[in-house]
């Protein structure tokens, strides 16, 4: 009684050939069997490809020159912090004293160091922090992207707590959140100590173009209005974050493009780092001046720090890093070494498989040729 669907296909030529084949599980197929001899070429290919690539990557990484100066424990240069003749307090202790008023009091230190190898154009200055967990879940959540986009917020999001609003005046912090609150506020300056290299003592540094373009143009935007907290200003009704010494519209009063939420140091800081030991781009060396046209020459230099950022309470370290870059980024040997290692392993595997194929290949063909006349093995 029931008409078979399969019988219908002969009377229904409209069913496309592909559909017919699909339904009957008869699609053309390629069936590779991964035996030793089919797998061999892949290993040799990978080995031949990876090893030179790894070598090239190592060469690129070696071409990057980098210098680090750890200034966490540097000594103050001010006479007010002198304890004995020639002995000064460490800045990290000075700023944690209860009498120290952030914003008005300062602690400045100077560190002499030598750059052993010339850094070719382009040279970048970074600040590095250790043991600073910018990737902690509660910290990462504690921000308000909508506020940073320039939208006027009445209520800061609950994630920003406890850095959302001033508990007394109930004015919203601008910007709110723990990420913004912990903005890095040391100032680093670089000086050439050897006047033989040229007349200029201070190394010219540029503070623009250090953040991602997409961040600066779209993600971070000042609210409409004048950059102040007057009743018709952009930041009316807001107050500076808890740990800041000056409000957000005074971050860079010289350059209005770099002020407010669009301040590039703030933008760079807001991009949370992946690991507890990280670095962030601070400044770029200005290579337009003749003395630094092509490079930062090797020689003695001096780093001057306005020490504001307290890291000793959590055992953190602070560093200044001068580095060039390659097309792969900063100095990192891992990728080159990994490629060489994997390439060598693959090559070795290829050789092993070749041996196996030659030695044991007969075993498989013996298996395949078993028929009724094959004698039993001994």
């Amino acid at each position: 009684m029931s008409v078979n669907a399969t019988a219908d296909t002969t009377t229904r030529p409209r069913n496309s050939k592909f559909k017919q084949k699909f339904k009957q599980q008869r699609l053309p197929a390629w069936q590779p069997i991964l035996t030793a001899d089919t797998v061999l070429p892949a290993f040799f290919l990978i080995g031949l490809l990876f090893v030179p690539l790894g070598v090239a990557l190592l060469l690129f990484s070696d071409s990057v020159v980098e210098f680090q100066v750890d200034y966490t424990d540097c000594n103050s240069t001010s006479d007010a912090h002198q304890i004995a003749v020639g002995e000064y307090l460490q800045c990290k202790d000075v700023i944690t004293e209860p009498s120290f008023v952030h914003g008005t009091d300062t602690c400045m230190c100077q560190i002499d160091f030598t750059i052993e190898k010339t850094l070719e154009k382009n040279v970048y200055m970074y600040y590095g922090l250790d043991n600073f967990y910018q990737n902690h879940r509660r910290y990462v959540k504690s921000r308000d992207d909508k506020q940073m986009q320039g939208r006027v917020v009445d209520e800061p999001p609950s994630d920003c707590r406890p850095f959302d609003a001033d508990p007394d005046s109930n004015e919203i912090y601008a910007p709110c959140g723990a990420v913004a609150n912990s903005l890095f506020n040391d100032t680093l300056r670089l000086f050439v100590t050897d006047t033989l290299l040229g007349p200029q003592r201070k190394v010219p540094l540029l503070k623009n173009d250090i953040a991602w373009e997409s961040d600066k143009n779209i993600k971070f935007h000042n609210p409409p209005g004048e950059l102040n907290d007057s009743p018709d200003g952009a930041f009316k009704g807001t107050v500076k974050p808890l740990y800041w010494t000056k409000p957000v519209w005074q971050l860079d009063e010289e350059d209005p493009n770099n002020n407010g939420y669009e301040n590039e140091d703030l933008i760079v800081w807001m991009r949370t780092a992946a690991f507890p030991s990280f670095r962030k781009l601070y400044r770029r060396v200005d290579h337009s001046k003749s003395q630094f046209k092509n490079s930062l020459q090797n020689g003695p230099y001096m780093l001057e720090v306005d020490y504001n950022y307290p890291v000793s309470s959590f055992g953190g370290r602070k560093r200044m890093i001068l580095s060039t870059t390659s097309f792969l980024g900063g100095k990192n040997n891992f990728l080159g070494i990994a490629y060489i290692t994997v390439g060598c392993i693959c090559f070795l595997l290829g050789v092993i498989f070749l041996v196996i194929h030659v030695k044991f290949g007969e075993r498989t063909t013996k298996h395949l040729n078993i028929n009724q006349n094959t004698p039993y093995s001994e």
């Binding site: 009684m1 879940r137 792969l328 075993r363």
Partner: protein, 456 residues
């Protein structure tokens, strides 16, 4: 070619002539060969009836070598029981059941005629319980429904006696002869596919979760997801869901001609040789190793650099995806256009999703903003280099294992496939039309077989 019986089949046949319709005596015909069996059951049976004839009745054709009933002698024997005798046997008070079951275990096939539906179901149930084997029931009428439902696998034949059997069954076929293909081809493939995709699903999920775990060592175990949550959702839902489906529907580990001509390959499924406990744990170990590779290659490259959380997360997710797709590619046993499309399609979906997400969504759903991250990464050579080496290194052990295993310790299935391939190549080289024709004949489309009923 004779039809091969593989499992215990209970069939309802036409009523035997010369039935003792009037006699209360039941007619138990025991066909045995040696006294060994007679002592086991013959005594019990002989007590019930007066005449026990000794005739060997060969019911069906030859059994294959590896039968469930591991009889010490290779001589085939069959057992015929009729419904009235069965009443006595199945009755608990006679205690005949254990003897009967042990007797049936010595036989290649057992024929039970004139059984009521309840008896049929009862026999299936008792076989299942006391022998602990997998049972399959085939039937075409309403009286077979209870038997079909009791068995582990019920196959209904839609045809002359209506569709009740079909509606109660797990599989429905139109001709009894299709059972041959149902078991040997589709059953074999189905088992292999299930094993493949189940192992892959466990691997896939364990892998992604472990990658998230390794990051916790670097973020104070605060539970920070360094892969954005939208990616995590889309990963399982869109990026890696299609290829396993294609494998589950369409992957063939052996061509149909080989399976039909070598029925002993069916024992791979029967003896549970593709999905064992050890395979599961080795699979999880593989997932563990791969997650280490995926995370630490990217992490070591990014440690101490200016990279942000978003970049690391996206890089790791990308390498995770490519590795998992490469894993699927190594596991695919027969490549059709569907397989290729599913892999390419998954990658395309990934790229499309990530481009749209990172270019349109500045800050949505209260999540961390991923704006501009992909644009930054897609132009970064370091990112692509990380993805490349991670994918190759992650799949390398599995690849090596597959190559070694099929060369040094090939399974029966692999040997058959290799043999078949060799034969095809030889045929092509020597251009033997006979070989080609013979294989053509074995692969007749289903409708032709049903019409001609070629079974002889």
């Amino acid at each position: 070619q004779a039809e091969r019986t593989i499992k215990l089949l209970l069939e309802q046949v036409a009523p035997p002539r010369g039935d003792d319709a009037d006699g209360t005596e039941s007619n138990l015909t025991v066909a045995t060969d040696a006294t060994t069996l007679a002592s086991a059951a013959g005594s019990a049976a002989a007590a019930d009836n007066s005449n026990s004839s000794r005739s060997c009745s060969r019911l069906t054709a030859r059994e294959d070598d590896e039968s469930i009933e591991t009889a010490p002698e290779t001589r085939e024997r069959g057992l015929v029981v009729d419904g009235k005798t069965l009443i006595f046997i199945l009755d608990q008070r006679t205690h005949l059941l254990p003897a009967f079951l042990s007797l049936t275990q010595q036989c290649s096939s057992v024929l039970i005629s004139r059984a009521t539906p309840l008896q049929k179901a009862l026999v299936v149930k008792l076989t299942k319980q006391s022998l602990g084997i997998m049972t399959l029931a085939v039937g075409d009428g309403a009286n077979d429904v209870s038997m079909i439902q009791t068995a582990d696998v019920g196959v209904g034949i839609s045809g002359v006696e209506g569709r009740q059997a079909v509606m109660a069954s797990d599989f429905a076929i139109t001709r009894f002869s299709h059972l041959h293909r149902l078991l040997l081809l589709h059953g074999h493939w189905c088992y292999d596919r299930f094993a493949s995709i189940i192992l892959y699903y466990f691997y896939k999920n364990a892998n992604l979760t472990l990658v998230l775990l390794w990051y916790q060592f670097y973020c104070c175990f605060s539970g920070n997801n360094f892969i954005d949550q939208m990616y995590l959702i889309a990963f399982g839902l869109f990026f890696t869901s299609i290829p396993p489906i294609v494998i589950g529907v369409y992957d063939k580990d052996t061509p149909s001609s080989v399976l039909l001509s070598e029925p002993k390959l069916y024992s791979v499924g029967r003896l549970n040789q593709v999905y064992k406990h050890s395979y599961f744990w080795v699979n999880i170990l593989d997932a563990f190793y791969q997650s280490l590779v995926m995370f630490f290659f990217a992490a070591a490259t990014h440690l101490g650099t200016v990279s942000g959380l978003d970049e690391l997360g996206t890089t790791v997710m990308h390498s995770c995806l490519v590795s998992q797709l490469l894993h699927v590619a190594v596991e695919i046993k027969s490549w059709t256009i569907l397989h290729v499309l599913s892999l390419v399609g998954s990658l395309l979906v990934f790229h499309l999703f990530i481009v749209l997400y990172t270019l349109t969504c500045v800050s949505c759903f209260g999540l961390q903003s991923q704006y501009g991250v992909w644009a930054h990464l897609i132009t970064s050579p370091r990112h692509w280099l990380i993805v490349l080496i991670t994918a190759v290194t992650a799949v390398l052990p599995r690849f090596v294992y597959r190559g070694l295993q099929s060369s040094l310790y090939p399974s029966a299935v692999q040997l058959s496939v290799l043999r078949n391939k060799q034969r095809v190549w030889k045929a092509r080289l020597h251009r033997e039309p006979h070989e080609g024709g013979k294989r053509q004949g074995e692969e007749l489309p289903i409708q032709l077989i049903s019409q001609n009923n070629v079974e002889g």
